[in-house]
Symmetry: C2
Subunit: 214 residues, 2 copies
Amino acid sequence: MIHSNKNNSMFVPEVVVQRIPIYIRILQEELKYGNTVISSKNLGKRLQMSSAQIRKDLSYFGKFGKQGQGYPIEFLVEKLKIVVGLGQKWNACIVGTGRLGQAIINYPGFSPEGFKIVAAFDSNNIKLDSSADSIPILGMESLSKTIKQKSINVAIVSVPALEAQKVIDLLVFEGIKGILNYAPISPKVPNGVVIRNIDPILSLQSMTYYLKES
Amino acid sequence: MIHSNKNNSMFVPEVVVQRIPIYIRILQEELKYGNTVISSKNLGKRLQMSSAQIRKDLSYFGKFGKQGQGYPIEFLVEKLKIVVGLGQKWNACIVGTGRLGQAIINYPGFSPEGFKIVAAFDSNNIKLDSSADSIPILGMESLSKTIKQKSINVAIVSVPALEAQKVIDLLVFEGIKGILNYAPISPKVPNGVVIRNIDPILSLQSMTYYLKES
């Protein structure tokens, strides 16, 4: 939440932006159940939020549904997808092809959501095993050229903590504006670059706050 | 943020709870730089927040430092660690030992932070390769017994999406109160169980919101 910089003109609070993908996922699940409309009350139950907050969140992006009739799910999903940029395709590269990097490369969930990993980089030129998709693993010296050639706009960083800031600086220098960082550090990025940190330790620590007292 | 349930008496907003581990990490970095005190202004710069918000956040947990003198870093770190339950050790198990599960088992970051993975479970009894630590991989039929024997209080779920809710229900049934979920679903848990979802897709989607307009 705190690691990104806002560069859009209409200000939507970042906590709201971070909830949109969750709205999309839950609405898609409702569609699978065969539902076509959902009330702000039921949507609130799914997200453990008040219906007033749900209505406020969604009002940032337009007027959906009529008073007392609930939201039309399919229409809302389509609209929210465009809001978060899922109307376009994103080419991603990954830096760091250790065990975690390989797990990420083989994760089947990115592609259906519009994110395609088109190149992998590693300072050690570690070989992927045969179960990996046919993504070329290149040395770091190919980074600059490949980012341009393959129109890469998002980077995933899965290098050790000590190398992460250096790698992130390099990616920023090469024009990458969106970084998903798996290294357990709090990286610094300049304004205009958005970074998200995937950090299980932070999640665990904010969880044990609740467990210690029970 | 939205997937946990509060069971503590003094109410601290969950967004604040989720920031505490980030405070701890940043303060520890400041200690490494040799700093002993930090102002709310500088702490705010590191977290991209206002100094007023920093002061408000920390005031939930006590009175730290004197007006105009900044926060004593070491004292604050120790206090915040206790707040999030890092004063005690947590025994964790992991369910699902595919590629991601193996990356998690081999991740060196859990142990120094007080989380020890003491058992792994898999319905397929997949063997870990030799580089893994000596964590036994057990069949699901051993779950109940092992959770009790090894005093496991936290579980990490890294099974495929389709199996995740079933596995989470089972863990809850066995008395687990804290779950770190890597499967890309929005799992349901009863009150009193805290769940955190590690979900790169949600992070990517809330990132592209900012990128699409730039």
